[in-house]
Amino acid sequence: MFAAAALALLAALGLALARAIGGPTVFDRALAANSIGTLALLMLAVIGFLTGRPEFLDLAILYGLLNVVGTVAVLKFFRFGDLGDPGEAEGGG
């Protein structure tokens, strides 16, 4: 049932984690991190249904949001080095 889905997700998490640990470049890791975020989000949703308390989807939303922020931060860091850099932004952005 849901438990099976959870197990599948768990396996996927494990694989992604292996990539995150092994990944030769930092981008691999960031990619894996992003995927792990998504998988964890799904996991949460499934656990919510598993325990019969789907209200906890708030948490999943939070994961989704933070995932983006985290990934963008990592990227920005590796792209420009500086988190506060406006990049090539022109006015009117």
């Binding site: 325990t51 019969g52 308390r53 209200e55 906890f56």
Partner: protein
């Protein structure tokens, strides 16, 4: 209780130890100031499990009262750990700030280099 049974029933604690020891090991063994801080936060994270895992009741649910549920997990550890997380992030932020300042003052965040710099510096002005 048999050893295996004991192991199973205290599983959560074992994980806590492994995390804790890994974190502590990083703190003590690593010379890089940033890594030390990360190790420190892992060390603190392990404590979260130590508190929260025993609060769980199998068949229980999160402590948000609703008519459909009778058994809830223990909310008190959650409260404590919320506070502990906050303390952890505060410590992390401060530690990082100090590390940044150290980097600016010494030009390095490797502990041995810093100590060497101080030793060579000899008499301060």
């Amino acid at each position: 209780m048999s050893v295996a049974g004991h192991f199973a029933s205290h599983y959560s604690y074992w994980i806590t130890f492994v995390l804790m020891v890994a974190g502590l090991y990083i703190v003590i063994a690593r010379g890089n100031l940033m890594k030390k801080l990360i190790g420190l936060s892992i060390f603190q994270t392990s404590v979260y499990l130590l508190y929260i895992a025993p609060g769980k009741l199998i068949g229980g649910t999160a402590p948000i009262v609703a008519p459909a549920f009778k058994v809830y997990s223990n909310p008190l550890p959650h409260v404590l750990i919320l506070t502990a997380i906050v303390v952890g992030v505060a410590t992390l932020a401060l530690g990082l700030a100090i590390a940044v300042r150290i980097r600016e003052a010494y030009g390095s965040i490797e502990e041995d280099e810093i100590l060497a710099a101080d030793r060579d510096g000899g008499e301060r002005v």
